[in-house]
Symmetry: D2
Subunit: 400 residues, 4 copies
């Protein structure tokens, strides 16, 4: 359980941080300007393409993906780099081609895809020529319980026919999201966790209707493809588009979620560090009632509490990464659930207080805080709400 | 300290509730459609005008304003009605011509305006022919400490010349906001609380530059005129536009804030009740892991906690209203500060949990929860951040 | 819903406060000395008898009891006086003959006792010639669910025979506690809430074994009779000792708990006010790092938070009292549960912070804070743990 | 930063745990019986002597002390063993001769004592022939600010004369505490942190008055020498009894506190684990309202929250130990402060909920929970209250 950075991590982290400080953070205002100039556009803006080209040139590319196709980092090696990207979640992950949901989708394809599926979809994803979306959550059921899923995937001759309604398919508003990975039931009468399968549905398949964009708080997240509601009206794809085997959908979704959750947590820590850094700068210079905010006991307590929480949770994230690397995702489940619960919640609290330090400026567009808050808040629901994980964790504790 | 409703309150409340249930809540989706159809427009949509005409016809009009010009209600009589309007904060207050910041501005004009000022601005406001904005907060200073204010109002012959930068002027993006009430310093060398004055600045005054709209958690609040950043480039108004006397700005701002704060708290209670009502409906029907959410202990605890908080805080709001009615706003200052701190914070927490009950739906546009959350969150900063009031309250406690 | 004090309350409260300030608080150190001088003694010390004589002479006697036998106060009239006694919970309630569990037991006897039972037990209780205990909680079951109770009360000819083990019978270590009111099952096969009955068991009944005293956070509460574990070894009492009818035990227990809970809450508010008063005094004079504690932002926030909580919860207690007086205890159940949950918890938090202000002194015997904390903490369990009430309250909310 | 146990730790930990499970936990009831049989006695009971002999025979002895005189463990090696002793804080630390305040005092003597001082006091301490106390806290000042200290140590010829009042000298009620290490000012006019010195004062020195025992909540902690108030009436000791140099008292106190604080935190984690273990056992078997507590969502959330907190804080403690071992106590100050704040607070919360799970039993003498709670609560004050550390931590954060 050695948490020190090895040489490769030290090197990559230094380069990643420098790239983020020097190129990504300054690009945030450029992105804002390009967004303002292009209402209604859901694909990447030019500034993103420029950052991606530069990062790729610097070897900061596909760092999330283990194995030969990616950078081959362990979770522990990737953790601090993912945290660094959290300082600018709108730009840094995508600059490094390490942004959800493409990361999870690429992992699925790398693990479970056939060579043909990999050639068709994984290579372009890793090459940043296309993007993708993951269609899991449904408006009509509590999707944290996968047995509730209503979408049907029926075999019909040489094809699968997909019928159902999905929403919160992140990235899917973008025309670049050419691949939709859809979770549905192939056999509703099978045992609870063998009913589900996944199919690869090209965006241009007849019967795929992108209904509307959704907002998170008031943000449309237009910069990275938004969040779509999608209806599949008997959309028909070749049988070869089945990912993995029939009935393996639930297991694949679980496999996908482990790394996804830890990546989210790592980035969330970076989001909180960014907020703390802004608070430090603000509090040192802002004066109220005769003293700087940094000299006021209440503000000091806030940053002290934040520092304690971040230090202890970062260690828990690192331990989780180490467990995933050494004993596997399944046996790291308790820790994955623990950080999934604890980190976004702590980060939300830290962001809430950071907003308070900034006053009205914290609510608005000139600081990243309110948007970071919306992102952290959403993490407490994405991939299963806190309460589902707390219940599972408590149950496991009683089974010790 | 009798908190029972008198006959007039009972009658008005019943009618207000019926109006809100029957006309306002159903109009929310109409408003959404009209907003979607009119991007970039900051003035009221047709559905608002219809509601206003209907409410006025029903005698549900200017209920916030004491005295003969308004409905003549006491704070205690108005409290439950204001709470009822909180169920639909985008539409109900404005339907009854009881929406901030017009309410506070009308109170200022009613108390401190000359007959000419009242004829020019108060009558049209109460008649809903114009709207108004209040220009207090500045980007460059901690405005909760009024002595920090940087805007200058200089006497120059028969005129005052206004120079400075304001932001978060709610409603000011709307072209209907024809009146801006601006707080600035007329005498920076006077005693701390005698430096400030207020002037009435018509929107079309040369030198008034509406710089840009601001967002609150991504919401532009376009339906009620948004929040503007405004620069006053030596904007010149007649000397007769001074509101009250020179140096009376601070006292007038304080006088304005008392009712404003209690109105905000009343509405916030209604926002929380709306959320609880949505939670009840959802939890009774939504099933996860074999039981409805309403049968799960954790959800039960949440609604129990919410009920306790709302009941106790509502009583504190009512006591505050009673004190304002009987001993005056100044002597109710401790209670006004108490509810200003406690109510928005409790409502934020209740909304956060309501979002959790709704899962992804709670974050998005189909439920009012995320937008209500943004509103409640902003209240913890508007009219002075919690910490300023907590400090003042603690100081007062030690002076007992 | 008028919460103003009427003339009788104003007069009684003034006299009660004066008595507590002038006689009770100074007597606390006398009690400590008398306790130190009499280890192992469980009955009242001389200082208590002196206070009782004085209070009775001042007409401050049996104030808790409605009707002609007591002072005839409503709950609303009694509330502020009960709060005043909370400033010195070891001495003030007992000085006024208003201490639990005698109060609840007297209410039971007054409502459900036969004239003979009242002559034998109620009159001596109201005359302070005896004390009493209530034997409800059992070590072996979750007693908050009355259907779990294991003690049996069997009819045998002209007698009832009591068999079972009880604990946390407050006051029962004192030899003065000559009456034990015992809850047990007369018919385990009856419907859930018709199985239980109560019998009056004189302390000197053969088969009554006072096993041992219990402690609460190390305190033996020796000053008011401690808390006993008691075994009933087939203890036989005349059939005439049945209180109420067979199968009415559950209903009587509920009836007893309503007033008991509100009295506890009122006193708890007084405990918190005492703590705040001590904090104010300490913080004004204690200096650390160059400033008094009263000048430090964190301490100011604490007392501000405490003030807000106490003000809002006091109003909720008053509303509860008003409801009990006007619509009856049963219809005030939601409010009784609300204050039962919220008040002790808030008071515990306030006491915890008060201890922190006092540092090591707060933990020890020179300040009343640690002992008050133990008392407030116990209230979250006595008469049903918070969680039982939260669950019931949540369930009721979903039934609205 | 490798947190895995090395072979020596693995071996020692296994033996320590076995000893605690097999011998210490069963001895707790024996201790209770021996305490009940010997009121007013402050020295160790026979059961302690038996455990000490056995532990020493097993090589579980002086594990806290680095270097050749002790077991020579690093902080990281000692950490899990210290945690294990927290399962029974009344008996396990003392059984291993690893109990405060002797540990800190032995460290002082080992680092700063002369050979003569070590021969006279350190050897007997490590041999368990005597005990000791540390006299730092004073009733009249906020002792967390060492410049406030009022006790004077004056040089007078070949002697030092000690004058002052101390309290909360843990262990000092025991006649076995033959050594008192006293902190006082030798030069009140020196720079802030050079005014203080320490002297070794034998308990039987004329002028040493043991005034009275203090209680923590209601516990006198009689089993390990209680907590004493002590007055030094011009107590005269040889000049050779100065520990370290004049003016080095503050620095030595800081040096003493680093290990002391981490030991407290380690043990506190063990206290919480003990509580969780009791909760698991109780909740699996206790039934309320038709289901075991372990099946109830609210209880599950509690244990889940506890597990998350303990896992993350344990890692922070381990990191702190690693830092102390590798870069020294001074450069680990931020982490030491962090765990000093976070661990006792979390443990207090966990114990509070554990008590709630046990109901009335949790408050009383049959479960260790209430006494553990009192111990954890005291840790938030001992060695400086939370607020002092939070302020320092916040200040440091702004100096980053």
């Amino acid at each position: 359980m050695d948490f020190a950075h090895d040489d490769r991590t030290t090197d990559l982290l230094a380069r990643a941080r420098a790239f983020i400080d020097d190129r990504v953070i300054p690009a945030e205002t450029v992105l804002d300007e390009q967004l303002a100039a292009t209402p209604g556009v859901w694909s990447f803006r030019p500034v993103v393409d420029e950052l991606r080209a530069a990062a790729r040139g610097d070897g900061l590319w596909n760092l999330f993906l283990p194995g030969e196709r990616g950078a081959g980092l362990t979770n522990q090696q990737y953790a601090p780099i993912a945290e660094a990207t959290g300082w600018s979640p709108r730009l840094a992950p995508v600059a490094f081609n390490c942004a959800a949901p493409d990361t999870g989708n690429a992992e699925l394809l790398a693990h479970f895809g056939t060579p043909d599926q990999q050639a068709e979809w994984l290579d372009p994803l890793l090459d940043a020529r296309v993007r993708s979306a993951f269609c899991m959550t449904e408006p009509d059921v509590a999707s944290s319980d996968a047995t509730n899923i209503g979408t049907r995937i029926r075999r019909d001759g040489d094809a699968y026919v997909v019928t159902g309604r999905k929403w919160w398919s992140t990235g899917a508003m973008s025309p670049d999201a050419r691949l939709l990975i859809v979770m549905g039931k192939t056999d509703p009468d099978a045992p609870r966790h063998a009913q589900q399968s996944m199919v690869l549905v090209p965006r241009d398949t007849p019967g795929v209707e992108i209904v509307r964009p959704l907002t998170v708080f008031g943000y449309d997240d237009r910069d990275h493809g938004g969040h779509a509601e999608i209806v599949f009206h008997d959309a028909r794809v070749p049988a070869a588009n089945l990912l993995g085997g029939e009935g393996e959908g639930f297991a694949m979704a679980q496999a996908r979620l482990g790394p996804g959750r830890i990546h989210h947590c790592m980035r969330a820590l970076g989001m909180a560090e960014r907020a703390l850094s802004l608070v430090r700068e603000r509090a040192r210079t802002r004066t109220a009632f005769g003293r700087t905010l940094a000299e006021q006991g209440v503000v000091r307590e806030w940053v002290a509490e934040a520092r304690i929480e971040l230090e202890s949770l970062r260690l828990l994230v690192l331990k989780t990464a180490w467990l995933m690397d050494t004993v596997g995702n399944r046996r790291a489940m308790t820790e994955i659930q623990s950080i999934k619960i604890a980190v976004p919640r702590a980060v939300q609290r830290i962001l809430d207080r950071a907003i308070q330090v900034f006053g009205a400026a914290g609510l608005g567009p000139d600081q990243p805080l309110a948007e970071l808050f919306a992102g952290a808040r959403a993490l407490r629901i994405a991939d299963g709400p806190d309460e589902v994980h707390l219940n599972a964790l408590g149950k496991a504790e009683f089974a010790r």
